[in-house]
Symmetry: C2
Subunit: 207 residues, 2 copies
């Protein structure tokens, strides 16, 4: 199945600014993207990047400068179903979880992201349109109900955990062994316990 | 399978204090507990509560005032495997996910919680000991490696999402239809978008 992976190549992962500067955010975001692309390929899918700017990658890149919702809906109009959309900031994902995503039989397969988002969609029906603004998982469920579509949701921590904020780096350090994990370790990040016994990331400056 | 659900009956869910007073935290925590117990039972397991104080519930309650790690290890010594431990603050969980948890074939089945915790364990081997302090998922993995135990981990958002902080209530409102969801709605909670387009909970005071 063709799976598009949207990527903000201009100013990704702004909410990581408290712990990563702009160039670092770009490099870390690309490491997560590579993890997702490699995992999709390992699961037998055909991943392509939907990027806001040209990129030099080992995978096909479709450039569309428009916001995510518009660019994705253009893809849905131009391509026959089935078609997948998987977010680029899911570095925990493994091939067996992608297998579970792709084996669902429904008009629409949805995976929520933490905080009301939608982290993965498989579209097996024509005329579906996405809307990634606000509480998108509710909007996608409502669209399916209004249009009589059969929906299946996949229960996966790996797919629901999108990396947006500094605390999310804990999950990458604990539950992934891919490029994003290696990037964090190479840049001095490790998990530690804070004074309240909570697990947080700490960065040790390198020379 | 016997599954114990640890519960702090004295002062549960302290990190929800910004949005719930002490009596409300107790009632909401018990609603989540009931969701977990009903789901375990629906999946064919035999749930029992491991509580820090006596409780009046439709399920068996074992009272042990000691901290979670000590009380759980006492249970593991007193009961033959297989034995399950599932946290009480997982109101998203559904019977099909519990089926996935129970069908694993390994000496030890682990489900991480967000932030380094361990939200569910199935012990199929004698002599396992838990340690819920700090980054417990790493400690449980290390114990298994040191003792030559085969480990299986279950990839489940429903099991990994433990409700600890106010933002976690978003997930209960969006992805559950059980007692905890009903309790929140009856007490004025709803999801809204904040000024940055993020989905948060808002409480409307009731008369």
């Amino acid at each position: 199945m063709d799976i598009f992976v949207p990527f903000d190549a201009v100013d990704p992962k702004r909410r990581l600014a408290p712990v990563l500067d702009s160039a670092e955010r770009g490099a870390f975001a690309e490491a997560m993207l590579v993890d997702v692309l490699e995992t999709l390929e390992a699961a037998g899918a055909t991943p392509r990047v939907l990027s806001t700017a040209p990129m030099d990658l080992d995978w096909a890149v479709v450039v569309d400068e428009r916001p995510l919702t518009k660019a994705t809906n253009a893809l849905l109009r131009m391509n026959e179903p089935p078609l997948g959309i998987v977010m680029a900031d899911l570095p925990l994902v493994t091939p067996s979880t992608i297998d579970r995503l792709l084996e669902q039989e429904a008009d629409l397969v949805l995976v929520p992201g933490i905080g009301g988002g939608t982290n993965a969609i498989v579209v097996n029906t024509p005329d579906f349109v996405v809307d990634f603004h606000g509480c998108s998982i509710e909007d996608h469920r409502a669209y399916a109900t209004s249009n009589g579509l059969a929906v299946s949701e996949v229960d996966s921590y790996q797919l629901s955990l999108d990396v947006d904020e500094p605390n999310d780096l804990v999950e990458v350090l604990l539950h992934s062994d891919g490029a994003a994990n290696r990037w964090l370790r190479a840049h001095g990040f490790a998990v530690v316990e804070d004074d309240h016994g909570r697990v947080v990331v700490k960065r040790t400056p390198r020379d």
